[in-house]
């Protein structure tokens, strides 16, 4: 599944870039994400993702690896996790880009999400919708955090 989102943030580019690396605050913007930890600054992070669709609940201990960065403009990362209770795995390939436009920062995400295992039985459509919701909430939370500050 592929998702693309772009959100306009009324804050300068450096501020947005620095916010991304402020792991605790950044992870706090992902709905259902908790216990963010820096394993190796700039390279590896861990978090637990908890998502619910009706009575179905998943808890993915997730490892996030930063693969490429381009200062102030681009990050490529990979996240993977497994919920053994429900026999499912998740893999996300994330591309984040920042660009400046008329004094605002355009923060864009392109995410490739794969859900494997039993959870897929819920139906591709339901999972897609949920993931879309999560990304939407995430983008809005980031925007709020950054704009609220100044």
């Amino acid at each position: 599944m592929r998702f693309e989102k772009e959100v306009e943030i009324l804050a300068p580019r450096e501020k947005v870039w620095n916010f991304i690396w402020d792991v605790d605050r950044f992870i706090a913007c992902v709905p259902g994400c908790k216990e963010a930890k820096t394993v190796e600054a700039g390279k590896r992070y861990s978090a637990t993702m908890v998502e619910k669709v009706g009575p179905f609940r998943v808890e993915f201990p997730t490892t996030i690896e930063v693969l490429e960065t381009e200062e102030l403009s681009r990050i490529k990362a990979q996240a993977s996790g497994a919920d053994n209770k429900i026999g499912s795995r998740m893999k996300i390939e994330l591309n984040v880009h920042l660009r400046e436009q008329d004094g605002k920062t355009m923060l864009g995400f392109v995410a490739g999400v794969d859900i494997l295992g039993k959870l897929a039985a819920l139906g591709h459509g339901i999972i897609k919708r949920k993931a879309d919701q999560v990304l939407d909430e995430f983008a809005q939370a980031v925007k709020k955090q950054l704009e609220g500050d100044s």
């Binding site: 179905f56 339901i126 919708r129």
Partner: protein, 287 residues
């Protein structure tokens, strides 16, 4: 094999509500189990306790009272197929119930369970919405009526509170000079598009009086479509027929169709339009 769980067998709604309040997400109401047990077998959900509600009295009857059919939440699909009250006054619901899943599921599966599990690919909620049905939810200390529109929140999600139980479904019986139609399209037992139309004609039979339209199965939950209703309401039947395509397009978008193995979003939206046209004409012909 299922994972071990403890069986609770309360005899009153109050006891059910107390158990739900006490054990929270580790307990679940169990009636026919036709959807719950499958999810449990798949390992998608786990419960420490199942609360068997089949010992509660009075929740599996169909009664007609003052123009409203009171359907107990524990009525099985099979009971609803064969209930004389429904056969006489709500034949569209009988037809729908006859075609739920297969004869074995209909034998034990309950209407209440179907509505509460809120599986996206389900029929009854859609027709009940078009009929203006209300759900009765009870807990230890209170009872409330919920419109079908408010009941269905999202895929697998209703507005029921954690300690509430659905006990009854109240369906206003259609008046004279009215037509009700539910049409579905699907693969084997899983409907992928469902459309319900309930309407009355004017006294002279020449124009559309009241009309309610609901769509579902294609998207996460049943949805009523007031925008399509507005296009057709009050129009002469001839004009309404000409505007069905437009109403169908609006209803298609309202369905919030999700592309999946049942079909693409565009395909499902298209089918909504087709079924709306047919359901409308079917309903008019009944008047």
């Amino acid at each position: 094999m299922l994972r071990r769980f403890r069986l609770e067998e309360p005899e009153t709604v109050r006891e059910v509500s107390e158990l739900l309040a006490r054990f929270g997400e580790s307990a679940k109401v169990y009636a026919g189990g036709t959807e719950l047990l499958l999810a449990m077998k798949e390992g998608l959900v786990q419960y420490e306790r199942l609360i068997n509600v089949k010992k509660l009295k009075g929740l599996n009857e169909v009664k007609l009272d003052n123009g409203t059919a009171h359907i107990g939440a524990l009525c099985t699909h099979r009971q609803l197929e064969t209930a004389p009250v429904l056969q006489q006054r709500l034949p569209a619901l009988v037809k729908l119930e006859k075609n739920v899943a297969n004869v074995r599921v209909r034998q034990v599966g309950t209407l209440g369970g179907n509505l509460c599990f809120a599986e996206p690919h389900a029929d009854p909620g859609i027709l009940l919405m078009a009929l203006g049905a209300k759900m009765v939810a009870e807990k230890s200390s209170s009872k409330r009526e919920i419109t079908a529109e408010a009941f269905f929140v999202d895929a697998y999600e209703t507005c029921l509170e954690a300690d509430e139980m659905l006990t009854e479904i109240r369906v206003p019986v259609p008046k004279a000079k009215s037509g009700v139609a539910y049409l579905k399209f699907g693969y084997l037992e899983r409907p992928s598009v469902g459309v319900a139309v309930a309407l009355t004609l004017s006294d002279d039979g020449k124009s559309v009086g009241d009309i309610k339209i609901a769509v579902g199965c294609a998207g996460p939950a049943p949805k009523s479509v007031p925008e399509s209703e507005a296009i057709l309401k009050g129009k002469s039947t001839d004009e309404a027929v000409h505007r069905l395509a437009e109403a169908g397009e609006v209803a298609g978008r309202a369905a919030r169709a999700i592309s999946d193995l049942h079909g693409s979003q565009e395909y499902k939206e298209h089918i909504v339009g087709v079924l709306l046209k047919r359901a409308f004409q079917n309903a008019v012909s009944q008047c």
